[in-house]
């Protein structure tokens, strides 16, 4: 499976990774090789096999819907790149 540059650009956009043209080249080459390697999976017929998502096979524990955490906003926001009045700041998205 060879990936073209356009596909690599689209994946990078989905992944929110800014890549320049030389990086697109490199990723197209490396990802194509890795996908070629991954396609060995097709040697095995998996018709009718149930997918296994997790070693516990889907039996995940549920807990009661109760508030258990205390308010730690101040300590969490102390390490944020930009905050104001208890809010996280990002570039304006609505004019």
């Amino acid at each position: 499976m060879a990936l073209d540059h356009q596909t690599v650009r689209e994946i990078a956009e989905l992944a929110h990774l800014e890549l320049d043209d030389s990086e697109i080249d490199q990723h197209a080459d490396e990802l194509s090789r890795i996908l070629g390697f991954i396609e060995q999976m097709n040697q095995v017929d998996t018709t009718g096999v149930e997918p296994l998502a997790h070693p516990h096979d889907g039996r995940l524990r549920l807990r009661d819907d109760q508030v258990t955490e205390s308010d730690q906003r101040a300590s969490f926001q102390r390490i944020a790149p930009a905050t104001e009045a208890g809010l996280y700041l990002v570039p304006r998205v609505i004019e």
Binding site: L17, E18, I34, T46, H56, F76, I79
Partner: protein
């Protein structure tokens, strides 16, 4: 002092022949003396000595826990309150954690000392420690070689006697492969045995924390202190924690060791095989029986893993966006560009590669061909083990196909790097416990690891087998040349 076991050190501490302050000071000096190994990202000597003094007061009051006063090095993937927790990445290079991982918390409750945070492959993605933002770690046995990865700093630190024990995490071999390369004991418990809370997530259905130590007995002590149910980890299993030291010396005669032919085939270095066969002969002499078992889908573990792990990683790592914590790019015009530039500048090449693979595998139109296909294979691989364990008690083989390779040898070939984990990945896919213990040296003087895989939650059986070999051999007591005194 730095070659003593945890058992010996804790006896010395409890009998007050030695103070935690002296012990901590000793290891801090060794870390400084051997800083060329680059095993640590952060060492906070003042904090460590404060913790040691508090441990000494507790020892003086006569109310110690089993590990009180023992200095421990922690992989920089565990959130540590008030300390840098970088995960080997630029994007977390300013992240001072506001809370402790459960792993750290449990060990702090016993008043163990945080000696420092160890170097690692960026976000635990790597098998050589060369993807760290903080530079590679050298293997104490031969500084031109890699220590393995991703817990490379922890393995090198224990091997060189810079710490009596260390913590690590293992998603595809990241405790066991570096343990093998550095000649130490590395134990990945069953999925769900040790809490993942506060451990920076790589691939959540595969990640598991565990100890890197000088012996199986020490691994049992560290596992004892850290295993158990944690309501803060939704995948933690609510099962009683057995006494791991109680069965270490149990008789193994009549027990069956399964040898998958797939672990002794093409690609396995002859010297590594020789060392592993000698260890197997030792078990035979102890009365265990060797038998062939079949794990027919073994060859597909690596391709399967390189779909599942990057898929989970691409989802987990979407949280690093420069908004709530960590690095943010300096120059941006809008929100989308801020995300894309922050991530481009904050992540290294291997992490980007895996995010790209995962994003592709999960994208519309490819999900069935890659992600779903890999999950089906994962079931077949888990079923292979279930069948094998109907016939045998443990499965053994080499931890890695070769001994430690040289720095730079595999950095240009991602697939060659990935194949290093060919024997270790299957235990993560199936969620099984597995250990690597030193079994000898190859002709070039490099350590070889024996890999023991057990049934789900059968940590005692694995530790029993590992300890029995260590009772009769001294490979685990060998230090790298130049680190003996």
């Amino acid at each position: 002092m730095h070659t003593k076991s945890l058992t010996e050190l804790s006896i010395d501490l409890i009998q007050q022949k030695l103070s935690s302050t002296e012990l901590t000071q000793h290891f801090l000096e060794r870390i400084d003396l051997h800083r060329q190994l680059n095993a640590f990202i952060t060492v906070d000597a003042e904090r460590a000595l404060d913790q040691a003094r508090a441990a000494d007061r507790r020892l003086g009051r006569g109310t110690p826990a089993p590990l009180t006063g023992i200095p421990i090095a922690h992989k920089d993937i565990f959130c540590t309150e008030g300390m840098l927790t970088s995960c080997g990445s630029r994007i977390l290079s300013n992240f001072v954690s506001p809370y402790n991982a459960t792993m750290i918390e449990k060990l702090r409750q016993q008043d163990t000392v945080i000696l420092g945070k160890t170097n690692m492959d960026e976000f635990a993605m790597g098998s050589s420690n060369e993807t760290s933002y903080y530079g590679p770690v050298a293997n104490p046995w031969d500084e031109s070689r890699v220590p393995g990865g991703s817990s490379g700093g922890s393995a090198a630190a224990v091997s060189a006697g810079l710490a009596p024990a260390a913590t690590g995490t293992d998603t595809g071999g990241s405790i066991r492969q570096p343990a093998s390369f550095c000649g130490v004991t590395g134990f990945k418990p069953s999925y769900g045995r040790v809490s993942r809370y506060g451990m920076v997530a790589f691939a959540s259905s595969l990640d598991q924390a565990g100890p890197l130590t000088r012996s199986a007995q020490d691994a049992a002590l560290l596992l004892q202190a850290t295993a158990g149910f944690d309501p803060r980890d939704s995948t933690s299993v609510d099962r009683e924690t057995p006494d791991y030291t109680a069965t270490l010396t149990a008789d193994i005669s009549g027990l069956k060791i399964g040898l998958p032919k797939q672990y002794f085939g093409q690609g396995l270095d002859g010297q590594v095989e020789l060392v592993v066969r000698e260890a197997l002969a030792h078990y035979e002499a102890l009365g265990a029986r060797l038998m062939d078992v079949d794990l027919p889908n073994s060859a597909l573990c690596v391709p399967c893993y390189y779909v599942l792990a990057p898929s989970e990683a691409s989802s987990n790592l979407s949280r690093f966006d420069g908004v709530r914590y960590g690095y943010r790019t300096q120059q941006y015009d809008d929100l989308t560009q801020m995300y894309a530039k922050t991530r481009a500048e904050g992540f290294g090449a291997e992490v980007k590669r895996r995010i790209m693979i995962g994003t592709y595998a999960l994208s519309a139109g490819y999900y069935d061909a890659y992600y779903l296909k890999a999950q089906k294979l994962r079931r077949l691989i888990a079923d292979d083990f279930r069948r094998a364990f109907e016939q045998c008690d443990v499965i053994m083989g080499p931890t890695t196909p070769t001994t430690a390779f040289t720095l730079g040898e595999k950095t240009d070939d991602p697939i060659a790097m990935y194949l290093n984990d060919i024997y270790t990945i299957s235990a993560n896919l199936a969620g099984l416990p597995a250990i690597s213990i030193p079994a000898g040296l190859s002709g070039d003087g490099m350590p070889v690891g024996l890999h023991i895989i057990g049934r789900y939650f059968d940590e005692p059986q694995i530790l029993n087998f590992a300890h029995r070999l260590q009772m009769g051999t001294d490979w685990h007591r060998r230090s790298p040349p130049g680190y003996t005194s």
